[in-house]
């Protein structure tokens, strides 16, 4: 015997049942009943953002840093269209998320009602799945499915669109214990014969390489990746999304690979004879030119939970479909059980070659510069936080420098929009990270262009007292655009100069935050130390950096990994 609840009550009860503690949103007409129910309870905390894009990015940052499903709540029409950028960002990076959106009443759907958009239609290409709930009796089951789909298999955002009348209607509330869907049964276990083949190939390697991506982070397999790498004494490179999957300060780490990867990582990628790809997808920022990459005679093992990621851009020899964590455990077990080891003499030679590449010191920069070098700021940030901070970033040069110079030893510490490349992601994502990790040090590495895309969130940070440290690498340019214009467009800096910038210090102060402007290299360290001492305060640090600095190494678009431009 259960009492009847309204759709709005059911929505909130479902969130409680899922153990959701914190959601991000913005109210509006179509979600008023849901907000009313939120108001009446205190289990689910609601964070009011200043723009729906930020709600989704914050839910995203929350999910990435905590391994929980992020939840955002937005209203119909513009609420949803504002959220789309955030949803697409989460989709590209496979982030588990549930977005609940209000919709106009069912009787008004299709009549061009006020604040009506075809939410399911608009979001379809950028969600793992979406639902329009037309009947309140299906609401609880649908939300259960949404959480299940979002968090299993290759994770992703799932949207549940709830018309206003459905949130008013009443029905008995029963939260299902589990869901069974005949059309959705993600594989977890890898095929044992394939794993055996992989082990044999690994043992035959003379120039091995491990290439690990975001899948390692998502499946919480960093300890297993580390164990495998160290068991074999193989070199390991991480993708932008995979940073922290293998400790960056370890000598077996070759750093990041790809367009702005290290010389040693890219060269080892190109010249290895056995490549073990783990939860990575050979995307165009990693393998710019698959034809160039395929010219080399090498065997590839590819572990991924998504079959469609396998042999999409680069044909592989031993595909293993399964959860990275599960497959790595099996692989380690198999390798430990056998007595065999890879050819140690060949491996020694290979490491010698890698060390020669490493000696190229591809990340060097002018340390005696009289102007602040952005790389130096990140290096100091790393030293001062002892590599233990959560670092979010926006998109552009600063993102690459953060990825190159902050040595991530732990997973879920590096939060960035790798796939979609969304400017404006950094600060709202950092809010989510801070809420998921109230005691953690959270810094947002950004630029003066990116930060302005969601600058309104300084207000949210004030309301919830989020003590973020904003590291603004201010070079008065959309740096990465400027860099491409310098390299490929004859130094014609079309519209990439950031004119009419605000006084960021005053801006931060106007929100009640602390602001600092740092103009001399010798002041960088002191300023950072001071900022992190202000434990309870958001500090906006405006670093006036070298305008001409470029990100190196660089593999130009369409080029092979070994065709890097070096500093």
């Amino acid at each position: 015997m259960s009492v009847e609840l309204t759709g709005a009550e059911i929505t909130i009860r479902c969130l409680q049942e899922e153990g959701v503690q914190c959601i991000f949103g913005y109210p509006g007409g179509a979600v008023l009943f849901i907000y009313d129910e939120l108001f009446k309870q205190d289990k689910v905390r609601h964070i009011l953002v200043r723009h729906e894009q930020a709600a989704v990015h914050a839910a995203d940052g929350y999910a990435r840093s905590s391994d929980k499903v992020g939840v955002a709540l937005v209203t119909s029409g513009p609420g949803v269209t504002n959220a789309v950028t955030g949803i697409a960002t989460a989709y590209m990076d496979s982030i588990p998320m549930v977005v609940i959106s209000g919709q106009v009443p069912t009787s008004a759907i299709g009549l061009d009602a006020f604040q009506e958009v075809d939410t399911v239609g608009i979001t379809r290409p950028c969600v793992k799945h979406n639902f329009l709930v037309k009947d309140v009796t299906e609401l609880a089951q649908t939300i259960k499915k949404a959480f299940y789909i979002a968090s299993t298999g290759r994770p992703g955002p799932v949207l549940v669109d709830i018309p206003k009348d459905v949130s008013q209607q009443k029905t008995k509330f029963v939260y299902p214990d589990k869901v069974t869907m005949r059309s959705y049964n993600p594989v977890v276990k890898g095929h044992s014969r394939q794993i055996k083949k992989a082990a044999e190939l690994i043992l035959s390697a003379k120039r091995p390489m491990i290439y690990a991506g975001g899948g390692v982070i998502l499946s919480n397999a960093a300890p297993q990746l580390t164990e495998l790498t160290q068991l074999l004494n193989f070199p390991c490179t991480n993708t932008l999304m995979g940073l922290g999957g293998y400790p960056a300060t370890d000598k077996q780490s070759l750093g990041m690979l790809g367009m702005h990867g290290t010389y040693e990582a890219n060269m080892a990628m190109q010249y290895c004879d056995v490549l073990v790809a783990v939860g990575a997808r050979f995307d165009d920022r990693v393998i710019g030119n698959p034809k160039h990459f395929s010219n080399e005679n090498r065997k590839i093992i590819h572990i991924d939970i998504d079959p469609s990621s396998i042999s999409k851009r680069v044909k592989v020899d031993v595909p293993i479909v399964g959860d990275v964590l599960d497959v790595l455990k099996e692989l380690i077990k198999l390798l430990k059980a056998g007595k065999e080891k890879p050819d140690q003499t060949a491996l020694k030679e290979w490491w010698k070659q890698i060390e020669l590449w490493r000696e190229r010191d591809c990340l060097k920069f002018d340390r005696d510069s009289k102007i602040i070098k952005p790389q130096m700021v990140i290096e100091k940030l790393f030293n001062i936080t002892k590599g233990d901070a959560f670092i979010t970033s926006d998109v552009g040069q600063h993102q690459m420098w953060a990825a190159q110079f902050y040595k991530f030893d732990k997973p879920r510490r590096w939060i960035n929009s790798g796939g979609l490349g969304t400017m404006g992601f950094g600060m709202p994502a950092a809010m989510g990270v801070q809420l998921a990790n109230p005691k953690g040090k959270v810094a947002c590495v950004t630029g003066e262009a990116s930060i302005q895309m969601c600058i309104q969130e300084l207000s949210t940070c004030k309301q919830y007292k989020l003590p973020l440290k904003i590291i603004n690498l201010n070079n008065r340019y959309m740096g990465m655009v400027r860099q491409w214009q310098e390299f490929f467009h004859g130094n014609r800096y079309a519209e990439s100069y950031m004119n009419a910038l605000p006084d960021f210090v005053k801006l931060a102060e106007s929100y009640g935050h602390a602001g600092m402007k740092i103009e001399r290299p010798e002041d960088v360290e002191g300023a950072l130390k001071e900022a992190f001492k202000l434990k309870d305060q958001l500090v906006f640090m405006d670093f006036i950096t070298d305008q001409t600095e470029n990100v190196f190494p660089m593999v130009p678009g369409g080029k092979g990994l070994s065709e890097m431009i070096l500093v």
Partner: protein
């Protein structure tokens, strides 16, 4: 796939978003009313068809996919065609319809409406035989396919 609103648009959307071709598409509920069966004809290299299959499998509402080209199969398409039929042509067209094992399902003093089933190439051949100039209107369903013999697509 699940017989649900929106399932078809997910399939169609996937093809346009990823730049695959849909040559034809035919879909209707099955004997199990919760399921629809779709026959989709596409053209592409083995790699493309492999990706299409994998991507379709990822759609939550898609229950099962088979590539009918993996085995021996039968495919049929239905066409309704309205042709100009006057004077001596009337008899000639009737004979053609018999040869192609179609049937005339509507008649006026100037036209026949013909129902014809077969592979797409058979339907094309019929149109050629009648002569393009005689054809007033056609409507085709796109191919429906099924495996031969014991080969069954079962959920």
């Amino acid at each position: 796939m699940e017989n649900e609103a929106g399932a078809l648009s997910r399939v169609a959307g996937l093809f346009s978003a990823r730049g695959y071709n849909i040559e034809s598409l035919s879909v209707a509920p099955t004997e199990d009313p919760t399921l629809s069966r779709m026959t989709l004809v596409t053209v592409g290299s083995d790699e493309v068809v492999e990706q299409v299959t994998k991507q379709l499998n990822k759609l939550i509402e898609v229950v099962k996919i088979i590539d009918l080209n993996d085995g021996s199969h039968i495919e049929r398409e239905l066409m309704l065609v309205k042709v100009r039929a006057v004077g001596a042509d009337r008899e000639e067209i009737k004979r053609l319809v018999e040869i192609f094992r179609g049937c005339i399902i509507d008649v006026t003093d100037k036209s026949y409406t013909i129902e014809l089933t077969g592979t797409s190439s058979k339907l094309d051949a019929f149109l050629e035989a009648v002569g393009r100039s005689a054809v007033l209107e056609t409507v085709r369903t796109g191919a429906s396919g099924i495996g031969r013999g014991e080969w069954i697509l079962k959920v």
